[in-house]
């Protein structure tokens, strides 16, 4: 019990400390990029920091601080950069070459530069050409780097694989009774089967979708939870990730759909002929809106959670006194608990809605239609 409390305290301490430290670092970054040293107020600094946190990054930085000489020291690890350059072929190097976006990376006589979280090809001086919208016009190589998010996805996948294969093994060695962590995860697996899959998909077809539903539930949940740790990752708050997840659901729905599903889209039974013609485009649109909503819902919830939580923690520095600090800390603490719930809730909703869509795809036609 005391152990748990202690670990929560340390977690928050780390979170607050890392924000403070990286916040310092980023004022330096901003100066470097724009070339002119601007004295920024705390609010703008925080906004920039939060913006930065929400984005993917090329290295896995845990925190950074400014040392006595005024240099930013980053604690973390570099990640591999993999680029497909149409002129120079495949380029692979570690992200440490960028020095956290401050430097130009040179590899085999080719130069690359990170600008607004994207890698551009550049020259030795690192010059970028901009169009009238302030977008760089330099060549952008195809970027398959293992970014922070990709690394986190890999870590969570490995964790899940280890966890659930162990659980499966414990059933074999223990006569069908789970042990250890399995006692915690088994009810969740059963809940997904009995409360999500079977009621929404039906006793007949649910088995085909169980693997996907279970994987998506635990993947989203674990990734959400990691987003709350001081690792500072924001995987499910990235539109690319939620798009990929929603697309998987969309394609499974589309490719496992039966005749009944398609007839409900293109030729709605039980309504007048004219209405069927009117309904068809709406239903076709609905096919795409459903996964789109899935994507936006998860993305927006996670981003909102991170923004609110970080802004409230940031308030500590806006107030700058012990009263405000203490109050804000309490608020941030309460909100973190709420976010723990949201992490689970969003995973549940994603799984639930996926199951609902699968259910509509395999629903048998009823005589009462």
């Amino acid at each position: 019990m005391t152990n748990k409390k202690l670990s929560i305290k340390i977690t928050f301490l780390l979170l607050v400390l890392s924000i403070f430290a990286i916040g310092q670092d980023h004022s330096n970054n901003a100066e470097d990029v724009h070339g002119t040293p601007v004295e920024k107020d705390v609010k703008a600094e925080q906004k920039e920091f939060i913006d930065h946190h929400l984005k993917d990054s090329y290295d896995f930085s845990l925190f950074s601080y400014t040392n006595d000489e005024g240099e930013a020291v980053h604690i973390g690890m570099p990640l591999p950069i993999i680029l497909f350059d149409k002129e120079d072929g495949i380029k692979m190097f570690m992200s440490s070459k960028f020095h956290h976006g401050e430097d130009i990376a040179e590899t085999g006589g080719v130069f690359y530069k990170v600008y607004h979280n994207k890698i551009y090809k550049t020259d030795e001086a690192g010059s970028l050409d901009f169009d009238e919208h302030h977008h760089p016009t330099n060549y952008k190589p195809l970027d398959f780097s293992v970014t922070k998010n990709v690394a986190m996805i890999l870590i969570v996948s490995a964790l899940m694989f280890w966890l659930f294969t162990n659980l499966a093994k414990s059933y074999k060695t223990n006569n069908g009774i789970p042990t250890g962590a399995g006692r915690f995860f088994e009810p969740l697996i059963l809940y997904i089967r009995d409360e999500i899959a079977i009621p929404n998909i039906g006793e007949k077809h649910y088995k085909r979708y169980m693997s996907h539903l279970l994987t998506i539930f635990f993947f989203v949940w674990f990734v959400n939870l990691f987003g709350l740790t001081p690792l500072g990752v924001n995987v499910t708050g990235n539109i690319t990730v939620t798009l990929a997840l929603a697309l998987v659901t969309f394609f499974i729905t589309t490719f496992t759909a039966n005749k009944n599903y398609w007839s409900h889209i293109f030729w709605m039974p039980g309504v007048p002929k004219l209405m069927r013609i009117v309904l068809a485009p709406i239903e076709v649109l609905g096919m795409f809106i459903k996964p789109f909503a899935l994507m936006i819902r998860l993305y927006a919830n996670m981003v909102a959670g991170h923004v609110v939580l970080m802004s409230i923690i940031g308030l500590i520095f806006v107030f700058g006194n012990w009263m405000g600090g203490t109050l804000t800390f309490g608020l941030a603490f309460g909100l973190s608990i709420l976010e723990l719930l949201v992490a689970l809730l969003q995973a549940y909703i994603f799984t639930m809605l996926s199951a609902l869509y699968f259910g509509s795809a395999v629903e048998e036609s009823h005589s009462d239609h």
Binding site: L142, V150, I153, F164, A168, Y171, K207, T240, A244
Partner: protein, 171 residues
């Protein structure tokens, strides 16, 4: 919206999709299928055990009912046997009594007849003896009295008279 498009990264998308699909397939083979199978098996096992327990309970109940039935039958049988025995005993006693009384009657009748016979016999004997004696006495008296002719004649007359008298009263 523009920011959302700017945030989109093809590399991350490809990684996420491939890793996720790979994870689904791997977990399906090595985790979900074994877990769900094990859980199903266990649930089936529990269901079967419960059913068999219920069956055993029913069987027990039927056995108890059977036992009670048998006991009841046995009791009725015993009662019947006792009743039979009692009635048989009564019948035997009454039979014996009636037989004994018949026998006794018979004996008494037999005794009576034999007594009567004996009496008759004794009486006859006695009569015969008396007759003999009287004849003897009469012989002696007659010899004595009929020593003269006159006396003999008067006696004959007298006897005839008497016999006639006897004869008329008898008729």
């Amino acid at each position: 919206m523009e920011k959302l498009f700017a945030d989109f990264s093809l590399g991350l998308f490809v990684f996420q999709t491939l890793i996720f699909i790979g994870l689904v397939l791997l977990l399906k083979k090595y985790a979900w299928k074994p877990i769900l199978d094990a859980v199903n098996e266990r649930e089936e096992g529990i269901k079967n055990s419960l059913e068999s327990a219920e069956e055993a309970k029913k069987e027990m109940a039927s056995i108890v009912a059977d036992n009670e039935k048998i006991l009841k039958e046995a009791r009725i049988e015993r009662d019947n046997l006792l009743k039979d025995a009692r009635s048989m005993k009564d019948k035997m006693i009454s039979d014996a009594k009636s037989e004994a009384s018949v026998e006794a009657e018979k004996l008494i009748t037999l005794a009576k007849t034999s007594i009567e016979n004996e009496t008759l016999k004794a009486m006859t004997e006695l009569k015969n003896q008396i007759a003999d004696l009287s004849i003897d006495i009469a012989e002696k008296v007659l010899r004595n009295e009929l020593s003269d002719k006159k006396a003999q004649m008067s006696l004959v007359e007298k006897l005839v008279e008497e016999a006639e008298g006897n004869f008329s009263t008898k008729q």
